[in-house]
């Protein structure tokens, strides 16, 4: 350590104090930022911590190395090694302890002046201070001083001491006789006491590492190596030592000291400091010159001295505590993986914690678990509403919520499904309205021939369309009409049943939903400007004088047919500034030439259904298919669910849904939507099957087993081929015939159970014997009645409370009557009895059977997370 280069030492006892030494010693206290003493003097170390300078000591010039006295008292005692080889004891801050006063100022002077390279206090016998010096001819280079020598307790009068230390410092406190002298004719560059035996001192000498034993100073163990700098013992494995030379770190095992157990990859620049982490096993931090990164070596294995030939796995990491070049660093003695780093220049300090490698895992329920060091953290997506709900929730969370709100299950009012989905997704809204129009078009019911066609969506309808056009006399705008076009309009929702093509009903609905602009546009497209203006006026009143709508109404009323009027010119230029797309397309329509409606048709913020309806009214037979094809491909590409209107639930629809799933992962919507497409070829599409399987798998993973079952039922209704076959049969012990088969062979399975009777039911016929051979069925292990006997009132279940829900009760009663048995011990009985038994017991109800039936099934012990 040169005089200018700073170093850091943590106090061995105060976890919040450290010393920076460069040309002087500075004692700092670290504390949380913004705590009580937010004085001007505090230096920010990190976002949370700041340091306060407590004391400065510049008594000792030419410092080469510093070591902190390891004992608790006196607390701020430091040994400083100087360039002339002297070791001075000095103190930071004022201590009133007499022992400290005794020690402070003591000097230990070698025979020949040369640089002191290193100092090390003995960790056990704290009176021993080892100093490593440069070579001086045949002199010793390792001197061990006893700081208590010449310590005379009887002269401990405070006043005397002060006088002594100030005046007679040189004469009375200088020690010149070391306790031990080691390493003759050699230089010592680094030192450390071995933790496994405090009488052993490891020294990095010139070209060899030597272990001196204080009990026998004439002998030393040594190994020739260049790696002699910065010897340091691993505080967790006392036999493991690290030392370095230039850019290379060598790790030694003292049990086989002949050669390093491993050497770490060489750094391009020479190392300046190597330190084991005191709070974590096997973590070595190294610092090279002129660098702003600290390289960490994670040795995650127990060191073995005996011939394991495998190269130990070392995880190499690098951290960058600060931007500037690092002068030195020091691990915090107790705080986990924490270090303070001081910059090479200007004494900029940084408090820094090395994080462990974090491993993480998502649970199926969108909660993230990670492990950092020894700790686990759990993180869930917070369902908090408010500002944060602005950010869209993840689709997994959405699907969970939708599954719980029975999304997709409303088969009567199909459009309501978008409300179940939360009602705020325009695409889903459009999708379910489309499906609702497609599936429940009354006219279609009357024309069964067209029923299939409707499923196919507008694209197909459009294709075989022999159109006749009727042109409207009012203006010169040609409008087209045909049966198919009407059907298309109906699917778009513009007109309802019947032969008339009146949009008034639709307009009123839109008015009710306060979609003024859209209503006005629809009215205008039906060439009823007066109505459009009326709607806008109404809207303006309803929206408390929305000036915008009034202005638009005013502009509309000025409509003129003339091709080159000022009105037309202004409208086509200003319409682009209108924010509402419907207002925009209204003027686009009014200013377009007949047949050239690109301004309307390609306005992507207008709903697809409105654009299609518009196209059906105003595009010629040649233009229409081209437009529809183009739009369909666009929708398919984008995975826009509005396009289902065009594709229907056909293969094209599956293609469209595929890009929707690719984009969003919403297999829930895809499954429910495609299940509506009864024609088998859609459901048989492997992609559709894949979505359904994935959705079921999701429900399983969320433990939404009831939802999964509901989904299966729903699916079974729409797709009979998906109904699973019976998987478990109960067979008679005697004749081997299936008992359950005879039950399910009855016309209605439900009746098979209803004849067992629920409590209060008049028919109490008993099926307690095998229908095949009339032998009795086995007995329930609890009530000892033959199976088939209805369960008497289940003890513990508050029947009176549940009476209200009769259907529910029926089902439960039926379930209580069911057979159930343990597949391990083969004991069983009524399902209801078994469940109530295992609520309080772990072992089988049959005496002398120790089977822990219920716990054998881990999944069965999981509580479903959906409440149905």
């Amino acid at each position: 350590m040169s005089g200018s280069k700073p170093d850091i030492l943590w106090s061995p006892h105060h976890p919040d104090r450290y010393v920076i030494c460069d040309s002087e010693l500075g004692l700092y206290r670290i504390g949380p930022v913004g705590s009580a003493e937010t004085k001007a003097g505090t230096l920010p170390l990190s976002e949370e911590t700041a340091a306060t300078l407590l004391a400065i000591n510049s008594d000792t010039p030419y410092m080469k190395c510093v070591a902190w006295y390891p004992k608790h008292e006196p607390e701020c005692l430091l040994a400083v090694g100087q360039a002339n080889g002297r070791v001075v004891l000095t103190s930071l801050g004022q201590s009133h302890n007499s022992a400290c006063k005794e020690l402070v100022g003591k000097e230990f002077v070698p025979k020949h002046a040369r640089q002191c390279n290193t100092l090390a206090w003995n960790p056990v016998d704290s009176n021993l201070l080892a100093a490593g010096l440069d070579k001086h001819r045949a002199d010793f280079s390792v001197l061990i001083w006893d700081i208590s020598s010449k310590f005379s307790p009887e002269t401990s009068v405070a006043a005397d001491k002060i006088r002594l230390s100030s005046v007679d410092l040189d004469s009375s406190t200088v020690v010149t006789k070391p306790l031990y002298e080691l390493g003759q004719n050699d230089a010592c560059l680094s030192l450390c006491w071995l933790l496994r035996d405090p009488k052993l001192l490891l020294a990095g000498m010139h070209r060899n590492l030597a272990i001196f034993d204080l009990r026998n100073t004439s002998q030393k163990t040594f190994v020739n190596t260049k790696a002699i700098q910065g010897v340091t013992v691993d505080p967790h494995f006392h036999d493991r030592v690290a030392s370095f030379f230039e850019g290379q770190v060598a790790i030694w095992d003292l049990r086989k000291f002949e050669k390093p157990v491993l050497t770490l990859t060489e750094q391009p620049k020479p190392l300046t400091k190597v330190a084991w982490c005191p709070t974590r096993t096997g973590l070595l931090a190294t610092l090279t010159r002129d660098s702003n990164i600290i390289r960490l070596y994670d040795m995650q294995h127990t060191p073995t001295p005996i011939g394991d030939e495998t190269e130990p796995t070392i995880i190499e990491r690098s951290v960058q505590p600060c931007e500037s070049q690092i002068g030195s660093f020091a691990w915090h003695p107790s705080s986990q993986n924490r270090m303070v780093v001081v910059s090479a220049a200007n004494r900029v300090m940084t408090d820094f914690t090395v994080f462990e490698r974090i491993s993480l895992a998502w649970s199926s329920t969108t909660s993230l678990m990670w492990a950092c060091g020894r700790h686990l953290y759990d993180c869930v997506e917070d369902g908090a509403e408010g500002v944060e709900s602005m950010i869209e929730k993840d689709i997994a969370t959405k699907m969970r919520q939708r599954a719980q709100s029975r999304y997709g299950h409303d088969t009567v009012q199909v459009w309501r499904n978008h409300l179940l989905a939360g009602g705020n997704d325009p695409q889903l809204k459009s999708l379910w309205y489309d499906l609702s129009y497609i599936l429940f078009d009354d006219d279609v019911e009357e024309m069964p021939a067209q029923r299939d066609a409707v499923y196919l969506g507008i694209t197909i309808i459009e294709k075989d369309m022999e159109c006749w056009s009727g042109s409207d006399r009012q203006t010169d705008v040609p409008r087209y009409l045909s049966e198919e076009r009407c059907l298309a309009l109906r699917l778009c929702g513009w007109i309802s049943r019947g032969p008339d093509i009146d949009v008034e009903i639709f307009l009123r609905t839109l008015e009710q939903e306060r979609e003024w602009e859209r209503a006005a546009a629809v009215a205008l497209f039906n060439l009823d400007i007066r109505r459009a203006i009326q709607i806008l006026n109404k809207g303006a009143t309803a929206e408390k004088g929305d000036l915008n709508l009034n202005v638009v109404a005013m502009a509309l009323s000025g409509y003129t047919d003339e091709k080159s009027s000022l009105w037309r010119e202004m409208c086509s230029s200003l319409r682009l500034q209108l924010k509402n797309p419907y207002l925009c397309v209204m003027f686009a329509f009014l200013t377009s030439e007949p047949g050239a409606y690109d301004g309307v048709l390609y306005e992507s913020s207008v709903a697809v259904r409105d654009r299609v309806a518009f196209a059906c009214m105003f595009l010629s037979d040649a233009q229409l298919p081209r437009y529809i094809d183009k739009l369909t491909n666009e929708m398919k590409e984008a995975g826009n669910l509005e396009g289902i209107l065009l594709t229907g639930l056909t293969k094209d629809g599956v293609d469209l849904m595929e890009s929707y799933v690719d984009r969003t992962g919403d297999v829930q919507t895809a499954s429910f939507c495609m299940l509506k497409g009864s024609p088998g070829d859609v459901l048989k599409d492997p992609r559709v099957q894949c979505w359904i399987e994935n959705y079921r798998n999701l429900l399983d993973a969320w433990r939404f087993w009831h939802k999964r079952a509901e989904f299966d039922i729903h699916r079974g209704k729409l797709d009979p081929s998906s109904k699973p076959l019976a998987q478990v049969f109960v067979s008679c012990n005697f004749c081997g015939k299936s008992i359950s088969y005879s039950c399910s062979a009855m016309p209605h399975q439900g009746r098979g159970f209803s004849q067992y009777g629920v409590s209060g039911s008049p028919t109490k016929s008993k099926v307690t014997s095998c229908p095949g051979c009339r032998k009795p069925l086995p007995r329930c292990a609890l009530c000892l009645m033959n199976m088939g006997t209805p369960v008497s009132n289940c003890p513990g279940t508050g029947k009176s409370d549940e009476k209200v829900d009769l259907t529910r009760e029926n089902k439960l009663a039926q379930f209580n009557n069911w057979f159930t048995w343990c597949h391990n011990c083969r004991h069983g009985g009524h399902a209801g009895h078994m469940l109530s038994w295992f609520r309080d017991h772990t072992e089988c109800p049959v005496s002398a059977c120790t089977c822990k039936c219920m716990q054998l099934d881990t999944t069965g012990n999981l509580v479903p997370s959906d409440s149905s």
Binding site: Q300, T302, S359, L360, S364, H375, I391, V661, H706, S865
Partner: protein
């Protein structure tokens, strides 16, 4: 949106891996504390099998082995261990070097286990009899030439996608080229063949994760190297006559160096819409794509759960709050059952009884109005037909 809290674990040393079970109810962690010598080296990874195969775990270690564990109920007389304990069913000792990752293959392939090791060999084992977890036969041995650090199966169960896995290498030599290799099973040769090498990934790869496919037509792969990368593998429509491996159109969707250091782990959520990554900066970052498939960071959480403050350009939607650490003696009971594994019977994240006993399904009756007459479908019923540990719903079927 995301709130972090601390959980008490019993480990005395670093936790190397965490793994949730299928239902997100139980969690396995592995560590390097050597309190019980299950492995003689650090355990790198731990992973759960699908619950259909029972409560089965696999772990791999520095000691060159991988092990398969099964939970056994009711046979232990040791009251300290509670009602269940884990026993080691097998030790797979084929590797000559540290086994760096272990993963179960997707459920539809049967009970298959894959290991990869530092000498660059991927081994695929199969338990031919799912009732007997002590017998595993080595089915495939694939040499990847480079030291392997991580492996990930493509979870897609679609028949259109043959079994496929990706291997990452932590070899730091940039000149060796692509560090991520993708292998695909060929029906005809009955072997795994390399389908793709991601040549653009030249730095050491620390973790790799296929996204849950969820019926998508392409595969997404997240890679933890010196940065976070997300690749999209779009299978080219191939002619039915061709027998070679599927050709993929490889697109890099995102690449983030926000960690500003090595990235250690990546993990997908169940819908593959959220990616979490952890790096040497001590932060967990969450990534999400918008509808335009643009990925961006939606959250940063510090590794110790403390809030991240003062950094510029961070989304504000994330609030990290360290909750009070839940500590009960219950986890000690469960935690020590297999030495270094920690199995808290996890409840719902929001429920207060996280460490409660596994409850018998007392609520089953209350919940059971889902037309119990309808038989519940089990994904692969025949696997259970002879199995003692029969899940309740099957009996419920009749």
């Amino acid at each position: 949106m995301f709130v972090a809290r601390s959980i008490a674990a019993d480990h005395k040393d670093l936790i190397h891996d965490v793994s949730y079970d299928f239902h997100g109810r139980r969690m396995a962690t592995c560590s390097s504390d050597q309190s019980v010598k299950t492995h003689s080296g650090s355990v790198w990874r731990v992973t759960w099998a699908h619950p259909e195969f029972g409560q089965v775990l696999a772990s791999c270690s520095f000691d060159r082995t991988a092990a398969v564990w099964e939970e056994i109920v009711g046979e232990s007389n040791d009251k300290q261990r509670g009602l269940s304990h884990w026993i080691k069913r097998t030790t797979l000792v084929d590797s000559r070097t540290s086994v760096t990752d272990v993963k179960f293959a997707p459920k539809h392939m049967g009970l298959m286990l894959t290991t990869c090791s530092a000498d660059g060999v991927v081994r695929i084992y199969e338990a031919p009899d799912v009732m007997n977890l002590s017998q595993w036969s080595l089915q495939h041995e694939i040499s990847c030439k480079l030291s392997c650090s991580c492996i990930s199966w493509n979870p897609s169960s679609s028949r259109a996608h043959p079994p496929m896995f990706a291997v990452g290498s932590d070899d730091s030599n940039v000149t060796y080229g692509g560090k991520v290799q993708i292998y695909e099973y060929n029906e005809n040769t009955r072997k795994y063949a390399k389908a793709e090498t991601l040549m653009t990934v030249t730095d050491a790869v620390h973790d790799i994760a296929f996204a849950p496919n969820l019926g998508r037509s392409f595969h997404v792969l997240a890679i933890a190297t010196k940065d976070v990368r997300i690749f999209k593998l779009v299978p080219m429509r191939k002619e039915s006559t061709s027998t070679g491996p599927t050709k993929f159109e490889v697109q890099i969707v995102a690449q983030f160096d926000n960690h500003n250091s090595q990235v250690w782990r990546v993990s997908w959520n169940i819908t593959s819409t959220l990616l979490a990554s952890s790096g040497d900066d001590g932060c967990v970052r969450l990534w999400k794509a918008n509808y335009m498939d643009n990925w961006k960071c939606t959250g940063i959480l510090k590794g110790d759960g403390s809030p991240l403050s003062g950094s510029s350009g961070q989304p504000t939607a994330m609030s990290t709050v360290v909750g009070s650490s839940v500590h009960t003696s219950q986890n000690a009971l469960n935690g020590m059952s297999a030495g270094r594994y920690f199995f808290p019977p996890l409840d719902l994240p929001r429920a207060g009884t996280r460490y409660g006993h596994l409850l018998p399904p007392s609520s089953l009756i209350e919940h059971c109005d889902a037309e119990p007459i309808q038989p519940q479908q089990q994904p692969l019923p025949h696997r259970h037909s002879s199995r003692a540990l029969l899940p309740l719903p099957e009996a419920e079927g009749q």
